[in-house]
Amino acid sequence: MSAGDRAPAAELGLLDATMIGMGAMIGAGIFVLTGLAADIAGPAAILVFMFNGVVTAFTGLSYAELAASIPKSGGGYAFVRETFDDLPSFLMGWMLWFAYMIAGGLYALGFAPNFLELLHVYGLTAAPGEVGAVAVPVVPVSIPASVGLALAAVGLLVTVNAVSTAASGSAETLFTAVKVAILVVFVAFGFLSAGGGGETSFTFQQFDPLFPEGTSAFSILPAMGLTFIAFEGYDLITTVTEEVENPRENIPRAIFYSLGATVVVYALVVVVAIGTLGAEGLAAAGEAGIAEAATSFMPTGLPIIRNGGALIVFGAVFSTLTALNAVVIASSRVAFSMGREGQLLPRIGRIHHRYGTPFLAILLSAVVMLGSVVLPTESAGNVSSLFFLLSFVVVNAAVIKLRRERPDMRRPYEMPYYPIPAVLGIALNLLLTGVLVVYLVRTDPLALALSVGWILAGALAYYALRARGEGSTPERRGASDAEPSGADAPTDTSNAEGGVD
């Protein structure tokens, strides 16, 4: 995670590693994205998350194989850097960095309406939709309350992470347990409300028809693409591998357990949310969909928490904040490793002499994250999902390339039925990328323009840094002008036929 980490003693067990993965995947996605998915796919949103789970499972196998054989706490960028030449690995890091920063914006945007809902539940403010713009004292402009809150949340977490090293993985276990417990309560009350006869009692009629009129089963594809960000958790698990006991067994297990548990939780929560509010109501509630559903059917008049819905709304606030914290760390870590590898300015890959944190990397990430808070939630989700899809394609390709070029490398975990899962991972992620791009052309040119712009900026930065660094950054001597590693591929492949010594 952050570079400030002490060279870690292996102290995280299987449970902790699984919880970190679940924490990242269940994070904010479920609260923020369910409404969006319902908006596009209607009641079929339930299928969206399940199919996404299946698609990511293939990438999960690739992550497991790479993480078990390359002992680095770097996540996807570190593995790809190990495998590919300069430019592809630079672009991978560049995309992943942006994906995390934009995800930060998305979570901040999800935090705000849920926080307002929480205040509303306690009667402190009007319903979220009715809170107007807040006049900022000093500055002579008024900004919407939700944007202000989102900015404040990013600002707070960035400051905390910039001046001190982050909370440990065991805190993460507790956070995740809280989130999951709250969701279990949500699901239980949702099903209990069935047959209650109230307006928002759970009923299966809400799922009929599964696909809204005028759409086909393919309508779930764009929804899959844009909610894909929920599965960034993979990358996060592999960022802590060095701290996990017995990594070669526990990392693959943690990946699969957390994916399985996450898909189950998503499925149940979405079933309840749609079964109570209905797909249309959910879509209308947007980022606060789950919270609104909960407020509608949870019991009221309880002591202290007053209103059962408050618990869920608290869960949403808590989840978006912890997820935001995770991506602040993750984005700065990608930038930090790129700086350390000489792929960004070396200054970015340094620890601050006073704070002991990758200060500059965090600061740079914060600037983009703060900027992305002005984006519409949907665009932020789109850009981030697009880049996660693309980087998952590269991770799957890395497995294939490594197997071909380094046949004798020890792989403590080998994916079953190689190369089928890796190839399927590439194909399905590319399919979703294609569908998402087509969808963006029609509905969200802003997101598309941002994505293209970021990649172009990356290419520029890459060549500018290389021109500047020629001769002066010796870290990667030989890597830039030497024959690319493709040259040794033929020898290695022929060697593979010969078997292992």
């Binding site: 002490r6 680095k72 601050h352 002499h353 001597r477 060697n495």
Partner: protein, 216 residues
């Protein structure tokens, strides 16, 4: 050269294994080539290095360690001949990569034309034996438990370069012992000049972090 190195170690036996662990503690990327399946498995369980299972004197195996990106190749098997063969292959395949060879005899200058550094671990072993036999005086590497006493060079432009110890927060478990000249103990006003070396005592868990601050 600053930052972390990429290091390839040929031979994951007693010496290679220890070297891999220490380099990993210091934050470097390590690849080990080891022929013996049991040793290779033990190494990958330790999770300190990428392990290639095979004979390092075979070009097809050696090349899998991505020599062109490596900064140093250290041939540390117990056989001088094997080690020399590996280093000669590296010279051929990736001429810019530094080579370190382990020998089993007291080295003269005979290898200087072929490799960059020669090491003779038995010399250190002999010193340890002498330390044990004559307990009143001990050479440094044998007196600390797991604590490392390191002489660390401050790189130009490193985070701590040109700053006084007062301004810098080194991680808990580390202590700058002496100033650049090595003749006074360091204090809060001691300035860490780039280009100079300092004696630093470090607990193993924070070596990586301390080195990051010193070498940028």
């Amino acid at each position: 050269m600053d930052g972390n190195f990429r290091i390839v170690i040929a031979g994951g036996g007693r010496v290679g294994n220890r070297v891999a662990h220490i380099l990993d503690d210091r934050g470097h990327d390590v690849t080990v080539i080891e022929q013996d399946p049991d040793r290779a498995e033990a190494l990958s369980d330790d999770y300190v290095a990428t392990v290639i299972e095979g004979d390092a004197t075979r070009p097809g195996v050696l090349e899998q360690a991505d020599l062109e990106r490596a900064d140093v190749v250290a041939a540390l098997t117990s056989l001088t001949g094997t080690n020399l063969a590996v280093c000669l292959l590296v010279r051929e395949l990736a001429p810019d990569t530094q080579t370190v060879v382990r020998t089993e005899r007291e080295p003269g200058e005979e290898f200087d034309r072929f490799v960059d550094e020669v090491i003779f671990p038995e010399r250190a072993g002999a010193r340890a034996a002498v330390n044990a036999i004559e307990p009143d005086v001990s050479a440094l590497e044998d007196v600390t438990g797991t604590l490392d006493i390191l002489e660390v060079h401050v790189a130009e432009g490193a985070p701590v370069a040109g700053r006084s110890l007062e301004e810098v927060s080194l991680p808990h478990g580390s202590l700058v012992v002496s100033d650049a000249a090595g003749d006074t103990l360091a204090g809060p006003e001691t300035v860490l000049h780039p280009g100079e070396s300092y004696l630093v005592a470090v607990e193993p868990s924070v070596v990586d972090e301390v080195l990051n601050l010193f070498r940028g």
